[in-house]
Subunit: 333 residues, 2 copies
DNA sequence: TGCAAAAATGTAAGCGCTTTCATTTTGGCT
DNA sequence: AGCCAAAATGAAAGCGCTTACATTTTTGCA
């Protein structure tokens, strides 16, 4: 692999000059530039990103930490981030935290040690204090999908309380009185918020929250299925099931169908997140939009503005969920 | 940020000694080791990965290039790769090629320039020759989801011809005579292979391949829908639709249902890939397994063995698809 | 106790690049 | 031609680490 030194020798100039034309950040006479470019071409010279980072203390790369690589949720987000950043000539290094505090911290360290210019974090297991401290550090941080007081300006998040509210209000407006709630893991803040919204809607309608018709799942299809089976075993009547995400809703629907229930005729089901697939199969899932891709884009734009000093659209942190009415929920007969 | 120099001063030893205890690759007396570790602890020392890479010419990271970050297909693969590698203390840098030759090449360059110790590539747009040449280079390469003659030992792939064959044979065994085929982009090799298998099954049954009942989609739901609409508009009778992947199958089913057809009563549908979601919604999709996650794992193991010299399970390149019978295809009345 | 071999540690030269500062060249004026 | 500021270029000191090689210390054993 040719180095900058080889180029400088071939072009008959100094290292500094080659560096200047590579980085295009200082005046170089046309004649010299042409000589250098020719040498670069001839040697098929590729700047060594590692050496460049070490010397300049920047890497033109931003680190992204997500909970999972698989699943329908994070993919679009990563894709958007990559898109925006690549468009600006920056690169993305992705790591996974697996919703585990240790692994999340380790992932952050890894990205930091790799000299990322900024970090976009979707973390759920680390405590707020850790994040606040992280934000004091050298490397700029953006949080996605999480709101932490004290570093509001670094947070890009969905109003999950409102989403929970919208979902339940929709169900109630269809005339349902008895509803079951299929929740995500309770330690997650967004899960708690969704429940809060759910309860607010119930309260507003003068309906009680029934702790028995509540099941804590893990956001995966399997637990949706498990939740449905639990509710069925319970033997309590309910005409609508409100789920904390689409994956669990899918699992629940599958279980319901297998148990001989018709959806939505016998049971209305609401999802949450609006991930792609459930829109395409029968019954099409009514759900709450979670513009995770737009949030990813926003995070990338934040980085572009605050780290790479590109100007552009102003960055807003709070996103609003919307009700998406499809076929899985209908009016109660 | 503390450097190795700070640690060496605090511990009263040389740089080299600190480096030795950090890397744990040369004998250091217990007493010295303890002093150094104490200093590291006290200074909260974190080795700078960039500097380390530059000096040692390895990075403990492997680059992964996938076509897309979103969608149900690559997530599980990336997750498996990350899993295996993280378990071995290695890290993963992910880039996206977007199925575009230029972007794929650029992605490869990026990963190479970042000093990855090895590359795992899922590329579709670059020509075979490019890959063969790449394999001559310094950095070890593994190809996933692609078979290239001449570098067979670097390829981890699915027998797509067999998958196509299995899918169609299943449909034919159910008594269907008139089938439509919803293909992926024809320039892709795996797509061509699936078609070959399809045709072999037809031939074996003495049935003709009907070029009119053939539609080239793009692997996304939308084109599944479009394909279905095209077939419907055509007005030709067919009792089964064989799709080149699950996403298009989902789109096609949605369109069929909207057109008033019942699946599978009026129309049997086969998917391909066995991605998670369609298993959970009605009708559950019959499909062909594509163990992309296992292939990812295998690629990671290959790297572990050939690059980091860990021994372990032997690595096999060719994977066999399997028929997965669920509800979307049934015997013709 | 003395000595060679083994073990531990230190020295210093890079890895490939950026960047500050010094030096040389250029070009516009008089 | 001669002068000077501006432009172009070069020299060299790092960035934080690894590692070959040299040196010192320890160990085992006669």
């Amino acid at each position: 692999m040719a180095t900058i030194y080889d180029v400088s020798v071939m072009a008959g100039v100094s290292l500094a000059t080659v560096s200047r034309v590579v980085n295009n950040n200082a005046r170089v006479s046309d004649k010299t530039r042409r000589k250098v470019l020719a040498a670069m071409e001839a040697l098929d010279y590729r700047p060594n990103a590692i050496a460049r980072s070490l010397a300049s203390n920047r890497s033109d790369s931003v680190g992204v930490l997500v909970s999972q690589l698989e699943g329908p949720f994070y993919g679009p987000m990563m894709a958007e981030i990559e898109n925006v950043l690549r468009g600006a000539g920056k690169h993305v290094i992705i790591a996974a935290g697996h919703g585990d505090e240790e692994q999340e911290k380790e992932g952050v360290q890894f990205l930091l040690n790799r000299g990322c210019d900024a970090l976009i974090l979707d973390v759920e297991a680390v405590p707020d204090a850790y994040l606040v401290e992280l934000c004091q550090g050298q490397t700029p941080i953006v949080l996605i999908n999480r709101y932490v007081t004290g570093i509001d300006d670094r947070c890009i998040y969905l109003d999950n309380e409102r989403g929970g509210y919208l979902s339940t209000r929709h169900i109630l407006s269809l005339g349902h009185q008895k509803t079951a709630y299929l929740s995500g893991p309770l330690y997650k803040l967004d899960v708690q918020q969704r429940i809060k919204g759910h309860q607010r809607a119930l309260e507003e309608a003068g309906l009680p929250f029934d702790p028995e018709l509540f099941f804590e799942g893990d956001f995966h299809e399997g637990s949706g299925r498990a939740g449905m089976e639990y509710f069925l075993r319970l033997g309590r009547a309910f005409s609508a099931l409100i789920c904390a995400n689409d994956s669990m809703a899918s699992g629940a629907i599958a279980a319901a169908l297998e148990a001989g229930l018709r959806v939505p005729e016998d049971l209305s089901v609401m999802g949450y997140d609006n991930v792609p697939f459930p829109a395409y199969i029968s019954p099409k899932l009514s759900t709450i939009s979670n513009p995770i891709d737009k949030m990813g884009k926003m995070a990338a734009l934040w980085v572009l503005q605050h780290v790479y000093e590109k100007t552009g659209t102003s960055v807003t942190g709070k996103f609003m969920p919307e009700l998406i009415v499809r076929d899985s929920a209908q009016a109660r007969d």
